[in-house]
Subunit: 326 residues, 2 copies
């Protein structure tokens, strides 16, 4: 089995590839080759038994998408995207990569022809939804993004469904919750604090909380995100029907509940490292974000996530801290 | 005021232009110039007091969209599209005109810059919805098209909202019901029979009904369609909010109710000209179509349609038959 991963240098891509390297197989098939692609050179996962080909290029350049699918990968995991803030700041770059790039990839698959019909996994986002919405966003709620990034993801979802319906590929779009706890350093993403207030205190560092404790949000761990990709890659897609884009399961909680879970897992000393510094700009951005979902289709199709924020913290401690709190 | 109409040779475009020629003004502003564009040469409406410029070209060709918006029309009515059946039969043509053409137009408006921000009206379609759905489709129901045409219209809606949010133009997307009674000759569209069974009998001709009498569908007259465009062109858009695409009002009824209305308006002799010839292909297509809507936003914003099928028939008799039944 040959897998192509676009956006392989990103956090989810790296963790997905580590899992593939560890498992060595996919739905009972041996993984023989993985092509890792990103705009910066991705690194092959350590200890992989398969051939790993690492490529760096702009996949929206003419001919690039064709080159990537020319040797007919069986599974294509399309994680490549300009993130929300950058797509908002750079209109043309966001549309070029997130919309044109996605379409060029889909059209390159179509151009291969001769019965080629790979499984394609497209990571969408809860940014396809825009306020106002109900407290819990149901599977049938309409997509009214309030960012160019969300617009581009919603368009990708529509293309995915149509190309799948046409038999060009076998596509699944997965709308990821906010991934928490994100490993690494604090970044400037408006959503960064949801992870920072857990990761940094566990690491002996101070973290800034810019919003009030009653802000509610929708989370899943990096391990769950990888689990979604693996399940989407191996499941029987005939059960999905024509609506190929699914809101993934997650866990909804307030910042206060996040902090309470941290207290239970790591104690008061760790929690005391959270410093409240209200930031009206971040508060305004976060106010327009989804808070909770009634995601029923994805769990019914076998997608699984954490069922408490304590579990999300424990996954972080196991996967990133070797099981120990620093 | 300068108006640009794309798709000006189509039925809705022609009727819209006749209305503009008759009224001579728009929301209190005198219409001084109208540019009519289509892929075939459109005809200027009779008796117009304004300058009419008629152009034929493929607006998806490089430079065409820029040329059309270069003299900064105040209002752009974008009706141009490859219809459903053709977009399904010719994948590339459908995407080129319905998606790329629309995006090229929107980007051409953006390229004008210097504070240019025209009102843009985009005609979408109930084809953005795909079965299964509830008996009445609510304003918040998700868009899951089952045709490439519906996919392309749904993408146009997303672009319209994002470009409007960005301040590139002031856009409104209007999802038209099936237009009934369509004037002209019977055509091969799968939806043609909804009009044929009224228009042809009124004209002394036989018409074929390919589906059963209990098929329910969603209708508005050509006069209402023009009314939607005029209202969208002149309304205060600040009341719309960020969700710029609206399901237009219409009237839902079964074929039996259509026939009963025809009987009331025109009598048994006319109704007797409907011949039942079941067509399984058309029955299967129609089974996937929306039947009824709970369209609350558009009426609240001032959009109006007929409230009975008798009214729809009377509009046809007034507007197409000079008030007389043949």
């Amino acid at each position: 089995m040959h897998i192509l991963v676009l956006g392989a240098a990103g956090m989810v891509g790296r963790k997905f590839l580590e899992r593939v390297a560890r498992d060595g197989h996919f739905g009972g098939r041996e993984v023989t080759r993985v092509t890792l692609h990103d705009v910066v050179m991705p690194a092959a996962p350590a200890g992989a038994a398969f051939e790993a080909i690492c490529l760096a290029s702009d996949f929206s350049e003419p001919g690039e998408a064709e080159r990537l699918v020319a040797d007919r990968p069986d599974l294509i995991v399309h994680l490549a995207a300009i993130v929300s803030g950058e797509a908002e700041a750079d209109f043309e770059k966001g549309y070029r990569i997130n919309l044109d790039g996605t379409r060029l990839l889909f059209d390159a698959i179509r151009a291969v022809g001769e019965g080629y019909c790979p499984r394609v996994i497209f990571t969408s986002s809860i940014a396809v939804f825009g306020a106002p919405f109900h407290d819990k966003i149901a599977d049938e709620f309409h997509l009214t993004p309030l960012t160019s990034y969300g617009t581009q993801k919603a368009i990708g979802e529509l293309l995915l469904s149509d190309y799948t319906r046409r038999g060009i590929f076998d596509g699944i779009g997965i709308r990821l919750p906010t991934i928490c706890v994100r490993p690494g350093s604090p970044n400037k993403a408006a959503s960064g604090f949801f992870s920072n207030i857990i990761r940094e205190p566990l690491n002996g560092m101070e973290a800034v909380l810019p919003v009030s404790d009653d802000v509610r949000h929708w989370h899943a761990s990096p391990r769950s995100a990888v689990g979604f990709l693996v399940h989407a890659a191996t499941m029987d897609t005939s059960a999905i029907g024509p609506r190929r884009n699914l809101s993934m399961p997650g866990f909804s909680c307030t910042v206060a509940e996040q902090i309470e879970a941290l207290r239970k897992v790591a104690g008061e000393t760790v929690v005391a490292r959270i410093r409240r510094v209200p930031d009206p700009t971040i508060q305004a951005i976060v106010a327009g974000w989804p808070r909770d979902f009634e995601a029923t289709r994805a769990p019914a199709l076998g997608f699984k996530a954490e069922s408490s924020f304590e579990e999300i913290i424990r996954v972080h401690i196991e996967d990133e801290l070797g099981g120990r709190i620093g």
